[in-house]
């Protein structure tokens, strides 16, 4: 067998947990278990086990720093107890004063992305240019190639979006199929109008 010998016992789990702690404190974006394993020169299963240890140490209520799984990786953030103090010192430029138009556009990109400006305009019924530019500047969405048919630039949400909204990934967004009744109402009303016109 050519499995590296170091995995047997020379590096106990709590030692690996310290390394992971160090990597996460230096990182400015969430790190995946694979990235942590690469940097720590260890394997992913052991990194995940060690993340459990680190998470136990840095959990809400126990420490001012909290380990969380967010945006497809692991990252430290400030505890909620410290939020007020943080808000006195730090700005939140990415999410401050998000307009209704920007939020709707963000929702469309998050649920249907990657999608282009024409796609967004089709759903919202108005041009999406300024909302898209605004979200790009805030770093909440980013370019993601071009559409195959018309070649329009398509957009997707960024890891920053997931982090700000506290999402482990985009699949953590709630399903929207549940709001069905209102759709049927609209449909019935339109059918009634159509019948009147054909009569």
């Amino acid at each position: 067998m050519d499995a590296p010998l170091r995995l047997i016992s020379t590096n106990p789990l709590d030692q690996l947990a310290k390394t992971i702690e160090a990597l996460l404190v230096v990182a400015s974006a969430p790190l995946t278990p694979a990235e942590l394993a690469d940097a720590a020169n260890d394997d992913v299963e052991r990194v995940e086990a060690a993340l459990g240890l680190v998470g136990e140490r840095y959990r809400e209520g126990r420490s001012g720093i909290v380990l969380e799984q967010v945006a497809g990786g692991w990252a430290f953030r400030a505890s909620r107890e410290a939020a007020e103090a943080c808000s006195r010192l730090f700005e939140k430029p990415a999410q401050r004063n998000l307009s209704q138009a920007s939020l709707e556009t963000l929702a469309i990109v998050a649920y249907l992305g990657p999608c282009s400006r024409p796609d967004i305009a089709r759903i919202r019924g108005v041009a999406a240019d300024s909302a898209v530019a605004n979200l790009l500047e805030r770093g909440l969405i980013a370019e993601a190639g071009r559409s195959e048919d018309a070649g329009a630039i398509r957009y997707r949400t960024t890891p920053l979006f997931e982090r700000i909204f506290g999402l482990e990934s985009l699949s953590a967004l709630p399903r929207l199929d549940d709001i069905g009744e209102s759709t049927d109402e609209i449909r019935e009303r339109l059918h009634a109008v159509a019948e009147q016109r054909t009569a």
Binding site: V26, A27, S28, A29, A75, F76, R77, A78, R80, A82, A83, E84, C86, S87, F90, A94, Q95, L98, Q100, L103, E104, L106, A107, I108, A110, Y111, R122, I123, R124, G125, L160, R163, I164, F165, G166, L173, P174, L176, I179, S182, T183, I186, R187, L190, H191, V193, A194, R197, T198
Partner: protein, 250 residues
């Protein structure tokens, strides 16, 4: 105020509103290039010139501009119009319902994001650019130490001093030319500036000209030039006086 005579100055069109409408109706002006907001602004500016609100003009304008807007909107979605026109009323209603439902879902999603932002408002975390990835080292092939020494020797050599001698301007004293002009004028009453300058450098010519101006200031000479770039003629002042006397006496 007559709406049809409203003067417009737009990127795509310049002239009266009336002509614009004619061109649009004849398909000679593409509505897609037309800034309708610009027309509204022009109308509002004109409206502001009058003290009383001209309701008749406003009404007429509203009708015309909404017709223009509808034409433009249709022009912007040609495929969609055809697509929807082909649909039966039931299908069109179905399509419209689908779109409205989709928009409503997105509005709900936006509301969820808004609520989420409020509930997660106390999240603070480090924001910054992604840390630098380790640079890939590109090892050099084995090198000859003598070549390195040669290059270093070449770089260590003191560069040759660059001579600036040709840049220095040496100005001869003005007095030298004052004396020279006075000497020449003592022998001849009239001289030609250019013919005196033939063997001089540019800088000397400039100083000579300064000397000439100095003589003129002292009233020792008069200077004449028939036209720009024509020869400059210098005469001794006392000679001129004799001339004028001769002329008058003749």
């Amino acid at each position: 105020m007559i709406v049809r005579e409203l003067e417009l100055d737009l990127d795509a069109f310049e002239g009266p509103f009336d002509l614009l409408l004619t061109l649009v109706l004849k398909d000679e002006l593409d509505l897609r290039d037309l800034d309708v907001a610009g027309i509204v602004l022009a109308f509002l500016e004109r409206l502001a010139d009058h003290d009383r609100l001209d309701l008749e003009a406003c009404g007429e304008f509203l009708v015309l501009i909404s017709a223009l807007l509808e034409l433009k909107a249709r022009g912007l979605f040609p495929d969609e119009a055809a697509e929807l026109a082909e649909l039966e009323p039931e299908e069109a209603a179905e399509e419209l319902a689908r779109r409205l439902a989709e928009y409503r879902r997105m509005k709900e999603a936006a509301q969820w994001l808004r609520d989420r932002l409020d509930s997660e408002g106390d999240r603070f975390f480090r924001l910054g650019p992604a840390p630098l990835a380790p640079k890939v080292e590109q090892p050099l092939a084995p090198q000859d130490a003598n070549r390195l020494a040669d290059v270093l020797r070449f770089l260590a050599k003191e560069p040759a001093q660059v001579s600036l001698a040709h840049m220095a301007l040496r100005f001869p004293p003005v007095a030298q030319f004052l004396d020279r002009f006075r000497a020449v004028l003592k022998k001849r009453s009239r001289i030609d500036f250019e013919s005196e300058m033939t063997d001089l450098t540019r800088v000397e010519q400039a100083v000579a000209f300064l000397a000439l101006l100095e003589l003129r200031r002292n009233g020792e000479v008069t200077i004449e030039q028939a036209a720009p770039f024509a020869p400059i003629r210098i005469s001794r002042t006392d000679v001129e006086r004799e001339d004028s006397w001769t002329l008058r006496s003749a």
